[in-house]
């Protein structure tokens, strides 16, 4: 209980799963314990005292004492005759049990004093305090067993009351950073904190690209108090690779950060806003809980460390299968790693526990929270226990929109082929955060579940035994051990279970979500006449660039209150002194809290919608608040500025006054010119074959020579149909003797005019100044006819028809038709 503030603390007792889901989804209900948890074989030797007096003591011994009694953990100090509490004394396990009870909270293992002490830096046996705390939490949770299975209490902690303050936000441009802090970073930090370094160390705030560096450094700079920047503290207090003496290095760095901060204007809060009190994410009540099903977890990666090159296995199952990050692998805010060609790989020795424990059960599950970077990568391995591209025990991979699952058994080859994939058509893999579970058992073979739902059909390969598994392989994430199956994306959690998770357990783990969540209580008691009243949000860091705010509710921590008729309208989330520009999902909110609906334990739900808001300085420094258009009788009228009229576009290049006739216009025009219907069989056939060769747009600049060829062909077909049809030709060319031979049919100008006249009149038009001169065209066609008729007395019988068709085609297929 927080005793430093004068607020009564309220305990939300969640009475049923239904209420749990409604009020505090994801935080309640302990892990069920149908099976005994996996513990590290073989058990430690050395205990020869009295036997445990109860099953609970026995459970304590197996899960906690055995793991902590070693001299390199707690045994040296808290053993027999050592410092109190002597919870790993070896003379009597029952006394150790009594001592341990004083420093654990079985109802909330992560809140145990033992955990918080180690997590705070007290003799952690790993490089990362958080990893020790997580391991210890698992052991205590395993001890607690089914004690946690029932009702779970979530205690909402009243946050400190803090007014919304003026604050500085990082400018959008990296220019100021680039001229102040960045030169120091590139000079002194780039040998490690750059992706091009020999041994790259995330975060890459000394990257060659200043924008990338700027994005990475934000969480390390405190603009409001430069001396508290991690960049400075790391040198001054933690003596981290100082380039002179650390005090001087820290002062130089602080001076640079101060210069940067001085150039950033303070964002003042608008005095007219109706404001709640302010909070940071970490002022919220932690909503993490033992809601996951992890009883058969034998390797667990939550990626909480956030720094360094080791991802710790916090399953509590010895030996720890810690993974070493290499290549382009960086940490993600809100827990996770971002793999862009790098990988995280364990040793073959430590990986052997997977072989031993899974072969013993003959079944397993691979569970992961993944966010693939894209849906185009193929043969990309997400989680693999293998020895190269041709030998493996198991692999979960990605091929475009599909998850692939390979498992080696007695019925497959040594590479676990053929792979089982999610169906192509379903495209279940999306480039977003997904919960994927691959299970294998000798009964059902391979299955893949995505977001709690079975995504594959029956395994086409008969299930076999795992007796052929190789114990010299290594567990690797984001690649193959041979580095040639790169997967790009974010991993937020990876768990290997030595049992098949059933549908309910998978759903349970999916519902539990991933990452650290908080209940944020924004005080509004100063705005309405309800003591200890808050707007409650479930909030978390969603990824490296955003926060998730979810399920707002109105609640008073004073159980005697029964609030009624409080209208809440137009809620906006503020960040560092200003309302967030994007993500304001609660602006349309307009609800009235009524006593009839209000529940003292869960409050009054305002919305079931969640929203993401951009991260600015990082979860430790970003200060949130709420603004209201109305809450109770307090109102603030928000007037959106009128939209800015768009400026007139600049004048374009003057366009041509003429253009091309398009495909169907050409056909219809030729039909008009010749009198041949467009539906005539030969014409229609030719048109359908040619139409995509003809112009499709009028723009004359798009003219191609193929257009002219197509136009000519179509014209010829129309003219062919015209001349071959006795009725049409006699009507079109009245007086012309088609029965005459070519030698006589065209031998006078008058006869030739019987052809050229109608053609020019109908196809070109007369008396139109914008059309070509009739005389000019007539002369040209007349000459053409003359040349074609001069066949030296040996003309073919159909030469007259051919000549008319030619003359017709020359006119109808000319530019006077093509242009408009």
């Amino acid at each position: 209980m927080n005793r430093s503030v004068n607020f009564r603390m309220r305990i939300l007792t969640v009475l049923s799963p239904v209420l749990l889901a409604l009020a505090l989804a994801g935080c309640g209900g302990g892990a069920s314990t149908a099976q005994n948890p996996i513990t590290s074989p073989p058990p430690p030797a050395g205990y020869s005292g009295p036997p445990p007096v109860s099953q609970d003591v026995q459970s304590f011994k197996l899960n906690v004492w055995d793991n902590l009694q070693a001299s390199n953990r707690c045994g040296t100090c808290h053993g027999t005759g050592g410092q109190v509490p002597s919870f790993v004394r070896s003379d009597n396990i029952n006394f150790a049990y009594e001592a341990a009870n004083g420093v654990v909270d079985l109802g909330n293992p992560s809140a145990s004093m033992m955990v918080t002490k180690v997590g705070g830096g007290h003799n952690c046996w790993l490089a990362a305090n958080s990893a020790c705390a997580d391991q210890l939490t698992v052991w205590i949770r395993n001890w607690a067993g089914d004690i946690l299975g029932g009702t779970r209490n979530i205690t909402l902690q009243p946050p400190p009351l803090r007014d919304v303050g003026a604050s500085k936000s990082f400018p959008t441009s990296s220019a100021l950073f680039g001229s102040t802090v960045y030169p120091l970073l590139t000079q002194y930090c780039s040998r490690c904190h750059s992706s091009a370094a020999t041994t790259p160390q995330s975060p890459f705030f000394a990257e060659a690209d200043v924008d990338v560096a700027y994005a990475a450094v934000r969480a390390k700079i405190n603009l409001d108090t430069p001396a508290q920047s991690r960049l400075v503290l790391r040198l001054r207090e933690e003596f981290h690779n100082c380039w002179t003496d650390c005090g001087t290095s820290a002062n130089i760095m602080q001076s640079a950060v101060q210069s940067f901060a001085n150039g950033v204007p303070v964002t003042q809060v608008d005095a007219n806003l109706v404001l709640s009190k302010a909070l940071t994410l970490y002022d919220g009540t932690v909503a993490s809980g033992g809601n996951r099903y992890d009883n058969a977890a034998i390797a667990l990666y939550e990626f909480k460390t956030g720094t360094g090159t080791v991802a710790y296995d916090t399953s509590g199952v010895e030996p720890s299968l810690n993974l070493t990050l290499s290549g382009a692998a960086t940490w993600v805010g809100g827990w996770g790693i971002d793999l862009r060609g790098g990988k995280a790989q364990g040793t073959t020795a430590a990986s052997r526990k997977l072989h031993d424990l899974i072969r013993a059960t003959g079944e397993y599950s691979i569970e992961a929270w993944v966010a693939p970077a894209n849906v185009v990568q193929e043969n990309s391995y997400i989680v693999s226990y293998s020895g190269g591209t041709s030998v493996r025990n198991f692999t979960l991979g990605q091929t475009m929109y599909n998850y692939d699952f390979m498992n080696r058994s007695t019925t497959t080859n040594g590479n676990g082929a053929p792979a089982l994939s999610t169906p192509n058509a379903n495209e279940v893999l999306q480039a977003t955060l997904q919960h994927v579970v691959a299970t294998y058992s000798a009964v059902d073979g391979r299955r893949i579940y995505v977001n709690g739902e079975l995504a594959t059909g029956p395994d086409p390969v008969t299930a076999g035994l795992l007796t052929d598994w190789n114990d010299t392989f290594a567990l690797v994430l984001g690649n193959e051990v041979s580095n040639d199956r790169t997967w790009q994306g974010v991993l937020r959690m990876v768990v290997i279970h030595s049992r098949v998770l059933n549908q309910a357990q998978i759903q349970q783990n999916f519902d539990a979500g991933v990452g650290e969540r908080f209940y944020m209580l924004f005080s509004v008691a100063h705005l309405i006449n309800v003591p200890q009243s808050y707007l409650l949000f479930e909030a978390s860091q969603f990824d490296s660039y955003s926060y998730l705010f979810n399920k707002p509710a109105f609640i008073s921590l004073d159980g005697a209150q029964d609030p009624d008729q409080i209208r809440i309208r137009g809620v906006r989330i503020g960040l560092n002194g200003a309302e967030a520009r994007v993500g304001q999902a609660y602006v349309p909110l307009d609800r009235t809290v009524t006593a009839a609906v209000y529940e003292p334990t869960t409050g009054f739900g305002l919305s079931g919608i969640g929203t993401v808001v951009a991260l600015d300085k990082g979860p430790a420094a970003d200060e949130f608040f709420l603004t209201f258009e109305q809450i109770g009788s307090n109102t603030h009228v928000v007037v959106e500025p009128p939209p800015t009229p768009l400026p007139a576009p600049p004048n374009g290049i003057p366009a041509s006054q003429v253009g091309l006739r398009t495909f169907e216009e050409l056909s219809a025009s030729m039909s008009e010119m010749t009198g041949v219907p467009t539906t005539t069989t030969n014409v229609a056939d030719t048109y359908n074959r040619l139409r995509e060769q003809l112009p499709t747009v009028e723009n004359i600049e798009g003219f191609l020579s193929s257009h002219q060829v197509g136009t000519a062909q179509l014209a010829i077909e129309y003219c062919n149909s015209l001349v071959d049809d006795a009725g049409l030709r006699s009507a079109y060319f009245p007086g012309f003797n088609f029965a005459a031979s070519a030698a006589t049919a065209f031998d006078t100008p008058a006869e030739r005019a019987l052809i050229t006249g109608p053609l020019v009149a109908r196809a070109v038009g007369t008396g139109i100044a914008t059309q070509p001169s009739s005389a000019e065209i007539s002369a040209e066609v007349d000459a053409l006819i003359g040349r074609l008729a001069a066949c030296g007395g040996s003309c073919a019988a159909d030469r007259t028809f051919v000549i008319v068709k030619s003359a017709c085609s020359a006119v109808v297929g000319s530019a006077s038709t093509l242009l408009q």
């Binding site: 990824d543 994007v582 304001q584 993401v612 008009e672 062919n720 059309q771 530019a815 408009q820």
Partner: protein, 390 residues
Amino acid sequence: MPFWPSHVGSIVKRVTAVVAIATFAVAAQAGPREQAKRMHDRIAGVPPSDTVLGAMATEIAAGRTQAAALMAMNHPAFYAVTLKNLVTPWTNRDQTVFAPLNDYTATVIGIVRDDVPFNEVLSGDILYVGNAGGLPAVSATSNNHYEQLETQGIDLRTGLQRTTQSGVYGTPPAATAGVMTTRAAAQSFFVAGTNRAMFRFTLLNHMCRDLEEVQDTSRPPDLIRQDVSRSPGGDARLFLNGCVGCHSGMDPMTQAFAYYTFDDTQGRMLYTGGSVQPKYFNNDTTFAFGFRTPDDQWENRWRRGQNALLGWDSALPGTGAGAKSLGQEFGASDAFASCQVEKVFRTVCLRSPVDATDRGQIGSMTSTFRASGYRLKQVFADAATYCMGD
């Protein structure tokens, strides 16, 4: 096989070259006959007969350009060529003009022919069918009727008959929404997917704007569906700077189509009044805290913010249920009216507006279009007059 005498090709080229030069040489001199020729070419797509040319020239000489334009619109090719090729790209996702005649295209042609107020094109219970003999019956499950109408070369000026979608297809009258609920539109834009295609293509074809031009990240994201990742590839910046800009406006309006789908097996549009289509819940675990569609209530969030410039009708509420009222919302906007004018301008003038004079003309034509009761023929006449040359 095409007729192609071996010696004709070179002659054709020679004649063509001569004609092209001659055409350009005199392009600047335009009297009534020249203006009539261009007007007819641009409106009907084909050259006028000498008789029509003469009559049109007479009207133009007398200052009655509108009457001249109407003469050109009396040519069958205005319907079978100009209008058909204007509309056909609106009716398919590829935006190809090489698609068969369908009920969407035929309905727009009929609306123009009969001077039906064009702003009903997205909301009316209206359908045009062929009335010639020898055609297969119009069907909700096949486009054969319209394909035959085209193949047989039936004069669309006289061969189309007005009817209703509710009568022919059995769609409830309140669920009809002009061309959006025609079979062709449903087949293209309601098939599979999430129905957002109908919104996007309607915006594109009838508001002349693609989504990139209307994105506004300042709108509330509370109605964005669950299938939209808030952290694509693990990076929320993509959502906050990009996705939200379109989806915050699009998703609230696409809700209007919640009861529609196209059944590929039956080959017809389905309307499931009161029951939201399962496609609205595709990938609903992608962001489980997103909006889950309960009905077909839509809301136009773009009435505020930068997209208020689209000129929404203040007499309408900006919200409603179903596609019909959404179609009315679109149809009553300034953007809709000016879009129709711009499209006709491009068709007739063979170019987009390029300068202040052209833009002023677009504004003037838009006003006339609305004042004339949304008669699209009026727009053709105005555009043809503006671009007939001088």
